[in-house]
Symmetry: C2
Subunit: 294 residues, 2 copies
DNA sequence: TTGCTTTGTTACAGCGACGTCACAGCAACC
DNA sequence: GGTTGCTGTGACGTCGCTGTAACAAAGCAA
């Protein structure tokens, strides 16, 4: 390649230093190498880049102009190098991320993995309580949960808005409605989550505001277990709206008495948990615009 | 070399075209090459430059920034290439240059040769009359002479000022003076040049203005013959002041009656004689600042 | 003038970047 | 199921970059 970085850098350094030998020392290569690089360039274009003057090499007018262009190239290249190096310092490492709901946290994790492929990611899933405890005990570096408690020990950033919705099997009459009321729900076999679930706390608050909290037909620990029970027609359940990307077999129904009481899916970590990788995760969350669930 | 021109060009072209295959077509290489170039760069820095979106490759934020820097590099490199190419078109060819006096014409020729080493130069020397005839008959492409006639057929550019001076051997009493008068010169054995010489015409005009033209002791055709005769003590001769870089054995004496009647050493050619090489010679003459005679 | 140091040129060998070729796998479309 | 387009992998060839060795030329000090 005739106008390579190496050749232009040789020319530039000879112009600055006044000799092939001095340029070789500055560039950390041997003097015949510099001689060959410069002369190969001159031969290929049939030009003269340097003239001897009082025993020193000084650039010709053409040589000087070439050096000017070479300097601009070198500046742009240094910018590119710094860009890559600064990002490259994030290239290696590991992070443990706790997720209450699969979505939109998992979408964020996927985006983070794409941006930082060299970072090893461990995902810890579980209930709101379990994930909160993991963060507090350093079992997870960072987590994504709805309704993160106002605790000074945490730093946090907003990820997405969400709300609890009822889910009914497609075969159910409710599936043809656009929303559902608490009274309608009380008439159905309800499937609850265990008490530690943030979903469950939101559901109980909702019923308490509009009368008594009904007894569930079924109580399940796991989110996917609840999903399968609804799909199977065992009853009506509750989920965070975007808590899963799964949508087959059910209809999501906003609950009138929730009064659009949305909450935040929040990324949070202990304030004392720092580091470039955690910072990068927070930064990505702050700018995240993934279609939650898509 | 990690940040080579080739790699950055590959990244830039993929960003513009949306696929490795399209970039390969644009760059005139094969698709595996592009794939390898981009991925080698990504692997070396542990970064991700592209993401897939609806079947196309789009640059990540980092990838876009890298492309910006790569573009600046490419611009600077294109400038450098144009610089070298434009000069390189002068790299080959030939020119015949006529010289009346050796200096300052020969210094100009030397500078031209340094700037355009690939141009083959033939130098034709001779009397003012011979060189003028050579230009008119296309025997010389361009020439350097003093007192170029005002002839519309020529284009010309000024090179240097000069005047005719007397030269005396160092052993001569005149050699201790700073200048000489026509009367003093009439008392000496004078060595003239043949009538075609521009030097000789100037000398005769000078004598005619201040009395009669003396008969010479000697008349010689060749400039160097005259020089040797003076050095040998045969008499006093006349030269253009900077007509030769040779200075040993003689003293140059301005002639009072010349009245500082300097003339111009002029570069000239037939107006119809054009071409890049001749134009470049004129251009160099217009900017020439060689120490005439040095 | 001699000896030493520094600089530059030439020839050659080795390594790695760039590039092609052959091919397999995948996705979209008909 | 076949066709088209794209991507990734491995093997191989070419050429630029680099160092080493040998030598020549220039500069400098004694």
């Amino acid at each position: 390649m005739s106008l390579s970085n190496v050749r232009l850098e040789a020319v530039r350094t000879v112009a600055e230093s006044g000799s092939y030998a001095a340029a070789a020392r500055l560039l950390g290569v041997t003097q015949p190498n510099i001689s060959q690089l410069v002369r190969a360039l001159e031969a290929e274009y049939g030009v003269r880049l340097f003239a001897r003057h009082e025993g020193r090499l000084v650039p010709t007018a053409l040589g000087q102009k070439l050096c000017d262009a070479a300097e601009r190239m070198a500046e742009a290249r240094d910018d590119a190098e710094r860009l890559l190096q600064s990002r490259s310092s994030l290239a290696r490492g590991e992070i443990t991320i706790g997720l209450g709901n699969a979505m939109p946290g998992m979408a964020l994790v996927a985006a983070f993995h794409k941006a930082y492929p060299g970072v090893s990611i461990r995902v810890e899933t579980g209930s709101h309580e379990k994930i909160t405890r993991a963060v507090l005990s350093h079992g997870a570096d960072v987590a994504v949960l709805p309704e993160v408690p106002q605790d000074r020990r945490f730093r946090r950033t907003h990820l997405a808005r969400t709300e609890v919705v009822a889910i009914a099997p497609l075969s159910h009459a409710l599936a043809r409605q656009r929303e559902v009321t608490a009274d309608q729900l009380r008439r159905e076999p309800l499937i609850f989550r265990a008490s530690g679930s943030s979903t469950q706390r939101a559901v109980e608050r909702m019923f308490a505001r509009s009368g008594a909290v009904p007894e569930p037909f079924l109580t399940l620990d796991a989110r996917d277990g609840l999903y399968e029970a609804v799909v199977s027609g065992l009853g009506v359940g509750f989920l965070w709206r975007d808590g899963t990307s799964r949508g087959d077999g059910i209809k999501r129904l906003p609950i009138v008495e929730m009064g659009r009481a949305e909450t935040h899916e929040t990324v949070f970590a202990l304030s004392e948990t720092t580091g470039k990788i955690v910072d990068a995760f927070f930064d990505m969350a702050a700018h995240f615009e993934a279609a939650a669930g898509g």
